[in-house]
Symmetry: C2
Subunit: 230 residues, 2 copies
DNA sequence: GTCTATAATAGGATAGAC
DNA sequence: GTCTATCCTATTATAGAC
């Protein structure tokens, strides 16, 4: 009986993994249940025994990766330190999570920008939306705390969160284009390290309260003094 | 006869606009030719008179917005100034272009990360890929030039380009999620202005050569000295 | 739980009248 | 150029045998 339960779970797991890979690569609409079944090694109808509809399967896939992401990010935040330390740890955990599995960022990005992918009608889908908002709201609180204690410069929290997402999630979701730009897979250990360096350099230079750049550096203006604009 | 030509062009235009809106919102696979025809106000079969296949229609839609984007960005770069000035102008043009029409960023983002959306087999589709690479390669040259002249800090060009895309394209492609974070549409004049301020603040603080932050601020380590990790 | 068979619908694409 | 009608295939989903 234990074996039966384990095998049932194993089957569900196989389906979820197959669906995750396919949905991440091609999106909800482009993937058929037949193909999911083939990859999972089941008959098409058997899928509907585990998941009553395609939408339910997709929701389950997204819920799983969202739960994983949220757990890791919450763990990163729960450790101590000042806002900057926790922020760096949060960012590190985010990048590690996205880098650990190529499907994560793609599914995350799809959840963020493909509003019409799911109707949003079912309660499960709305739970996903809430999870998504919670994930980044925690980082928003950290930004606010850091702003109040003077660690961060005055900033627009919502826009900064969008920036963080763009700097991380997009990068690891950018498939062939990103790989062609980098010359190799963004998921190689070296490229992941470079990504961390890049994001950290941009944010540490741009978010810290001390030594900000003035909008128009005099040196640059000086060298431009003899330039003419039409 | 002139009228006929104009009306033919008008019909093609209607189709392209309908398709652009639908593809941007829901992606290639989720949109049917029937729906495109309905929105465009034509019979389904009439579409196939103007575009021989769905893939050809999609390629035409993407080619149009890509050409527009590239033209505006090239214009921004062609004006004079030092690398930093041109970079700021390029960034401004990019954001303005993305902000001008809600479909632009979404289609652009789809082109960037949905590799399997189009097979990539046809010559037209490969032209699109080249256009995309050219667009950002120009910015890459600018980063290199600015790096050589000491305006920018030493940076990884490919990663920085990815950061720029993430900071701009993702933001304006982030649909309902972005709107919910901001509290209003990202395309409102105020939010566009805020986005420009945000991106500029991040990049000017993070990309300029002078006054960089040290990777590990001693203050942070100091306050963490008594923290214990499990 | 998994299978075969099938329903019901929508997909892309073509032919030919007008 | 646009239409109706049609073809073929694929889709999601269900029914029922094993």
């Amino acid at each position: 009986m234990t074996t039966a339960v384990v095998e049932a779970g194993a089957s569900r797991e196989k389906i979820l993994e197959a669906a995750e890979s396919l949905f991440a690569r091609r999106g909800y609409a482009a993937v058929g249940m037949r193909e999911v079944a083939e990859v999972a090694g089941l008959g098409k109808s058997s899928l509907f025994h585990h998941f009553r509809s395609k939408a339910e399967l997709y929701a389950a896939v997204v819920a799983r990766i969202l739960a994983l992401c949220e757990a890791r990010l919450r763990t990163a935040l729960s450790a101590g330190g000042n806002p900057l330390t926790r922020f760096d740890r949060w960012l590190d955990a985010l990048i590690d999570t996205l880098a650990a599995h190529p499907t994560t960022a793609r599914l995350l990005l799809r959840s963020l920008f493909e509003d019409d992918e799911l109707t949003g009608a079912s309660e499960e889908e709305q739970r996903l939306d809430q999870t998504l908002k919670r994930m980044f709201a925690a980082a928003g609180d950290l930004l606010r705390e850091g702003g109040a204690t003077g660690v961060f410069r005055p900033l627009d929290v919502a826009h900064t969160l969008q920036s963080l997402i763009g700097l991380t999630v997009y990068h690891f979701a950018s498939g062939d284009f990103g790989a062609e730009m980098l010359g190799e897979s963004p998921f190689s250990v070296e490229q992941v390290r470079k990504r961390k360096d890049e994001v950290r350099a941009i944010l540490h230079g741009g978010l810290l309260a001390e030594r900000r750049a003035q909008p128009e550096p005099p040196a640059a203006n000086g060298s431009m003094a003899h330039d003419e604009y039409s």
